[in-house]
């Protein structure tokens, strides 16, 4: 195969690009150009697939170094704790959530510009309250109701628990991916309502390296249908800029 490709002009033009691409040695604009070309060129895609094992083999040329046992201990310690959190969240089933169209709101979010134009989204707590990392053991007393928050994408391991006491509450999250620089997570409160109630901006927060965080929802929960979490630019947003990653349905 290689001879046929090599012999033509197309190969001469693209094969060096593909090699540099396979080695992750292209500048960003060149990388996009190659990716654009690959999307429409089966010859080059095939050539790249052929070439990649030569890159995959490079780590095996490195002399094996015995990893320190503490490394495994540290990794498995974190993994064990996070797995326990996930199990705990799974065991903590929310109080009977009726069968109702919870996807409805998600499609609502993707219609955001229209809805925003209608003034449905109201900025409530101007991305204010910030966050409490670590468990500060909020004693919410006896009237507290606990709901489970679930990841909206089936592939996401994110979980959470929403503790509601009257109009306020605390959302505990786990397994959210760390945010990039300039990004935060933001909680949103959606009111009850037949056609999908108003969505209010609530607190912004970040998560620990382990993907764990606690965020206070200062108000709006007594008439809320659900609490959602999205990723937003630092400082938070007035309207959610993506579909909910994690949703606590309040039955």
């Amino acid at each position: 195969m290689s001879d046929r490709i090599d012999s033509n002009e197309h190969g001469e033009r693209w094969n060096p690009e593909l090699a540099a691409y396979a080695l992750d040695a292209l500048d960003p604009d060149e990388r996009s150009a190659v990716e654009g070309h690959l999307a429409g060129c089966e010859t080059c895609s095939e050539r790249l697939r052929w070439m990649l094992p030569a890159v995959d083999v490079l780590p095996a040329t490195v002399a094996p170094q015995p990893p320190p046992p503490e490394l495994k201990a540290r990794i498995m310690d974190t993994v064990g704790r996070e797995a326990a959190l996930v199990r705990a969240a799974e065991g903590d089933r929310a109080p009977a959530v009726e069968d109702r169209p919870r996807r409805g709101f998600l499609s609502g979010l993707s219609l955001r510009p229209v809805l925003a134009g209608l003034g449905v989204f109201v900025l409530l707590a101007a991305a204010a309250t910030g966050l409490v990392l670590s468990d500060d053991g909020t004693d919410t007393g006896g009237s507290e109701i606990v709901y489970t928050a679930e990841a909206e994408r089936p592939s996401s391991p994110a979980t959470g628990r929403l503790e509601v006491d009257g109009d306020a509450g605390m959302l505990h999250v786990a397994n959210l991916p760390p945010t990039h620089d300039g990004e935060v997570y933001q909680a949103w409160v959606q009111d009850k309502g037949s056609a999908g109630g108003s969505v209010h901006a609530s607190s912004v927060f970040v998560v620990s390296e382990q993907g764990v965080g606690d965020v206070a929802i200062p108000h709006g929960l007594s008439k809320a249908a659900r609490v959602m979490v999205t990723r937003e630019p630092k400082g938070g947003s007035e309207h959610p800029s993506e579909n909910s990653l994690l949703t606590a349905e309040m039955g």
Partner: protein
């Protein structure tokens, strides 16, 4: 640390250990810590070795390996079957993290002539498991394959892969015309590709021929 109790005597661990990597990943995706431990046991050594080769010091390599494995555990990095074996994928996550850490540190001195063997020779061979011994042999053979490349080809490949330099940075570093670097990368990779297809089959890494 509840996990370290999972010795091989645990029947669940023993069952997981018999699974192929791809099957194991399905359990890892379901947040099974025992499956993750098996994954680490299989690839942690290669991951740490690669991280060490790139960042050049033990504590940096530990940080990189830890970040990489935790991102895999948290599914921030998703396994893509189309891209190759689980091992290649794990190592590509490690490589990306290691290069990021080099760039963050701002100190990217090319480490080209590291005598990798010296580190290992210092270890009594009695401490090596059979698996390690095989890997070490494989790594020797593969290094042979790369060392048999003309210098100008192996150098550009190593600078890109282990140093995280772009082709234009390499061109400047080696005072080569732009374009030449890519051409050498291409020739070098093609030779390695042909050699591995002909002779060596390192633990399932080569599914395509």
């Amino acid at each position: 640390m509840l996990i370290s109790m999972a010795a091989a005597s645990n029947p669940e661990t023993a069952r997981l250990e018999r699974l192929a990597d791809e099957e194991l990943m399905a359990h890892v995706d379901r947040k099974d810590p025992l499956a993750f431990e098996v994954l680490y046991d299989r690839h942690g050594g290669a991951a740490y070795s690669l991280a060490y080769r790139i960042v050049g010091d033990r504590s940096g390599a530990e940080d990189v390996a830890q970040e990489a494995f935790l991102s895999i555990w948290r599914s921030n990095a998703r396994f893509d079957r189309a891209r190759g074996s689980v091992r290649s994928w794990v190592l590509s996550v490690v490589r990306n993290r290691a290069i990021d850490s080099l760039r963050r540190g701002g100190s990217r001195a090319p480490k080209l002539d590291q005598d990798d063997d010296a580190v290992l020779e210092a270890r009594p061979s009695g401490e090596m498991t059979e698996d390690e011994a095989i890997r070490r042999e494989t790594s020797r053979e593969l290094r042979g394959a790369i060392e048999s490349l003309p210098d100008d080809q192996s150098k550009v490949i190593e600078l890109a892969y282990f140093g995280g330099f772009s082709h234009s940075e390499i061109a400047e570093m080696l005072s080569m015309p732009l374009g030449t670097v890519k051409g050498r990368m291409r020739l070098g990779l093609e030779k390695i590709r042909v050699q591995i297809a002909e002779s060596i089959s390192p633990d399932g890494m080569l599914e395509t021929t």
